[in-house]
Every structure is written in structure tokens, then in C-alpha cells.
């Protein structure tokens, strides 16, 4: 397959309490594509996403990123993680650091960039997410939407090759969802490879190249938005879509 940046095969996670959160998932993600993962709560979406950068260590299977099997013993996970950006549902900004320092700490400590270089890039990134005037603020002084845009900027400052989003808008007040989605849309338009867990069906419909539907730790259906929204084959997909779309 051409240009597969990420290949997951037989990827599984069984938690120590016996819960099988993800059950032998196979998935290939091509460079420059947007993959949206949907599915009911508890279906294993977060766990799958978190296994891609090994924040959740898989219990079986493989994660091959740019041709490198991340689970090989001699692979330096941190060296690869820096090439994979992640955005969390609850932002996880560093509360003891200013917005600017949140953006520069990765580039300075991990990429060994000089302070000047890191700050210059960080300020440019703040302009991109529309928060240039917040550089010296602390996370606690920001709204939810602003926090999430900073979190996206923080990940982007590492110049990642793929961005993972775990329900980036579901902790936000409705009026703030738009500002975060518009940053993500710009990113998608710029050709960033993205894997997005979300309940924002409009985003999925317009921006996804592939939609993955999960249920019970498995991928039950995958396809283009036209297929998934137009004529899904799995009855559980239909049922799930009815539920979320009726709610909207």
C-alpha cells in the first residue's frame, strides 16, 4: 500500500481487570488523510487512539509508524512519540507554565531548540490558532475553547507528522466548539494526517476521508462518509448513527 504512515495490525488491549477494550484491530492510515473514529461510549475509541503513541501499552499486535514497529524492544518510544501529536479531551495543559512555555517546553527539552527559536515558532503558532495575545497568560485564565486551541498549538510546535485527537470538543460549551473545529479544519486543509475520535458528525461528513465505526472493541464498519452516512451495511452502525443524529 502506498504511503501508509501508520499501520495497526491485530492491535489489542486487555486491561488488568480483564476488560477487553480493543480486540484485534487492523487499520492503515495513509499520509495526508483524515480518519474519524466514531462509536458508542466504551467501544474502545480512546484506548485505540492512545495505543497509537503507546500512552496505553498494547497487550497484543503491532503499531508500525513510518515503517518502524514501535513495539520492538530496541525502539525508542519517546523518539517516535515526538513525531506523533496528541490532543486530549480535557486539554491537559501544564497549569504551572505560561501559554508560551506550554508551547516551548517540548521543542526546548526534547528537540533541543534554543529558547529564541522555540519562542519564535510558538508565537507564530499562536497567531495560527488566533491566540497571539495570550502568550503570557496561564491556562487557568483561558476559556475551554482557548485551552483546546493552545493544546493543539502545543502539539503542533513539535512539528508532528500525524495528529491524534481524542474527543477534542466534547468537554466544551457548545458555543466554543466552532473555534476548535475551525482550527482542525485548517489543519486538515493543510494536509496534516489526522486521526480524530469525535461525535461531531458534521466534521466527519465534510472532512473525513475514512470513517471507522467501533463497537465492543472492534471495527464494525469502515468507509467513506458517503458510504457510512449514506448506506451503512452494519445494523449497529445504523442504530448508532440514528441515535447521535437524532440528538443533534
Amino acid at each position: 500500500m502506498p504511503d501508509n504512515l501508520l499501520v495497526l495490525s491485530g492491535l489489542s488491549k486487555t486491561f488488568s481487570d480483564g476488560t477487553v477494550a480493543v480486540d484485534a484491530v487492523d487499520l492503515s492510515i495513509a499520509k495526508g488523510t483524515v480518519t474519524v473514529i466514531i462509536g458508542p461510549s466504551g467501544s474502545g475509541k480512546s484506548t485505540l487512539l492512545r495505543m497509537i503513541n503507546l500512552i496505553e501499552p498494547p497487550t497484543a499486535g503491532h503499531v508500525v509508524f513510518d515503517g518502524i514497529d514501535l513495539l520492538q524492544k530496541d525502539v525508542d518510544a519517546n523518539a517516535l512519540r515526538r513525531r506523533i501529536g496528541m490532543v486530549f479531551q480535557l486539554f491537559n495543559l501544564f497549569p504551572h507554565l505560561s501559554v508560551l512555555a506550554n508551547l516551548t517546553i517540548g521543542p526546548m527539552t526534547v528537540l533541543k531548540k534554543s529558547k529564541e527559536e522555540a519562542e519564535e515558532a510558538a508565537r507564530a503558532m499562536l497567531v495560527k490558532v488566533g491566540l497571539a495575545n495570550k502568550a503570557d497568560n496561564y491556562p487557568a485564565q483561558l476559556s475551554g475553547g482557548q485551552k483546546q486551541r493552545i493544546a493543539i498549538a502545543r502539539a503542533l510546535c513539535m512539528d508532528p507528522e500525524v495528529m491524534l485527537f481524542d474527543e477534542p470538543t466534547s468537554a466544551l460549551d457548545p458555543e466554543m466548539i466552532g473555534e476548535v473545529l475551525s482550527v482542525m479544519k485548517k489543519l486538515a486543509a493543510d494536509g496534516m494526517t489526522m486521526v480524530v475520535v469525535t461525535h461531531e458528525m458534521d466534521f466527519a461528513r465534510v472532512f473525513a476521508d475514512t470513517i471507522i465505526v467501533m463497537d465492543g472493541g472492534k471495527i464494525i464498519e469502515a468507509g467513506t462518509p458517503e458510504v457510512i452516512f449514506g448506506h451503512p451495511t452494519n445494523p449497529r452502525t445504523k442504530e448508532f448513527l440514528h441515535r447521535v443524529i437524532d440528538k443533534e
Partner: protein
Amino acid sequence: MDFSFLLNGRYVGILLGGLFLTLVLAIIAVGSGTVLALVPAFLRLSKNRLFRLVGTAYVEVIRGTPLLVQVLIIYSFFRMPVTVVLGIDLSSFIPGMLALFINSSAYVAEVIRGGILSVDRGQSEAAASLGMGKGLAMRKIILPQAVKNILPALGNEFVTLIKETSIFMYLGIAELMYAATIVRTSTYAVKESYIVAAILYFCLTFPTSKLMGLLERKMKKADAR
């Protein structure tokens, strides 16, 4: 009651000297104890089962036995000739200090461990997602946040240690309790010497607790910046 010994410069000098030594002992114990405490604290946080076991055993044994017993055990292991430096007999000071410092390290270890565990897991996940290694994340992300929880508890440990230094009386170190005993035997003002000692202890512990409370509130405020 007869507090007239307080008008005698010599007795006041002995008491204030004792007060000062008490403070110094407590500061040394909490300072060095905190450094040593990092070892059992990180042992207990380790993924390695054996490390965790060693750390837990250390903390539990020390917290589960009286300080006086620990002091006497260590004292009996360190039989060194009387060596007086700056008016302090090192042959009893060093083992005494060692006991206090080991004792405080066990309590502080728990304070440090609790402070680190209280930092949200999302913080280390975010650090890891940026490619930061465990040590780097600990230094730059976790510890700076943990300190906010650790410092106030460390203040409480300091207050406890101020009181526990009274154990040094048994080793003939001229801390406050020993000073009070000297005053008692030379003036026969038994109740009065002890009451004055109690008041002096309180003069150290009360402002310290207040100061720590203030510090805690200030840091909470800084967090809500």
C-alpha cells in the same frame, strides 16, 4: 510559682541557647531528611516490585517504631569518644542527628509520594505525548506541580520535628528540654522551668504552622491565576 529565674541573664541565656539549638536541629533534620526521603519515595513509586517492597518496608518499619527506640539503637551502634566541637558533643550529636534524619525521611517520603500521586495522570500523558522521557517529565512537569502539595505538608513535618528534638535531652545535647532541665536543677523551680520550655516550644511551632497555612493559601491563589 516563681519565675524570677527569668530575670537572671545566665538562665535566660541557657534557655535561648536551647531554643536556638532546637531550631537548628529541626532544620537540619527536615532538610537532610527531605533529600534522603527522595530515595524511599521513588522506590515506592517504581514499577519494579522489589524496589517498591524495599521502599515500603523502610517507611513502615520507621513509622512503626518509636523515635526514642530508634535513637537509642543508633546511639548504641555509634560508640565514639567524646568529641566536643563548638560546645556540642559529637559523640551523641551525630547518632542523634542520624536517628532524627532517618526518622524524618520516612515521613517525608510519604509526603513526597502523595504529592507526586496527586498530580493528574493527564499531565504525564501530555508530557509523554510530546516525547518527554520519564525523568524529564518528572523534573519539568510533575515535580513543580507536586511541590504545591508537598511544601505545606513539609511544614507540618517541621513542626513535628521541632517537638521531637526534645528526645535529644537523653543524649545530653543542650537543646531546649535539656536547657530547661539545667535551669530546673539549679533553681529548683520545677514546674516553672517546664512551663517556660513549653511556652518556648509553642513560640516556635505556632508561627511556623501559621506561616505554612499562609504559604498554602498563597500557592492555591497562584494556581488560580
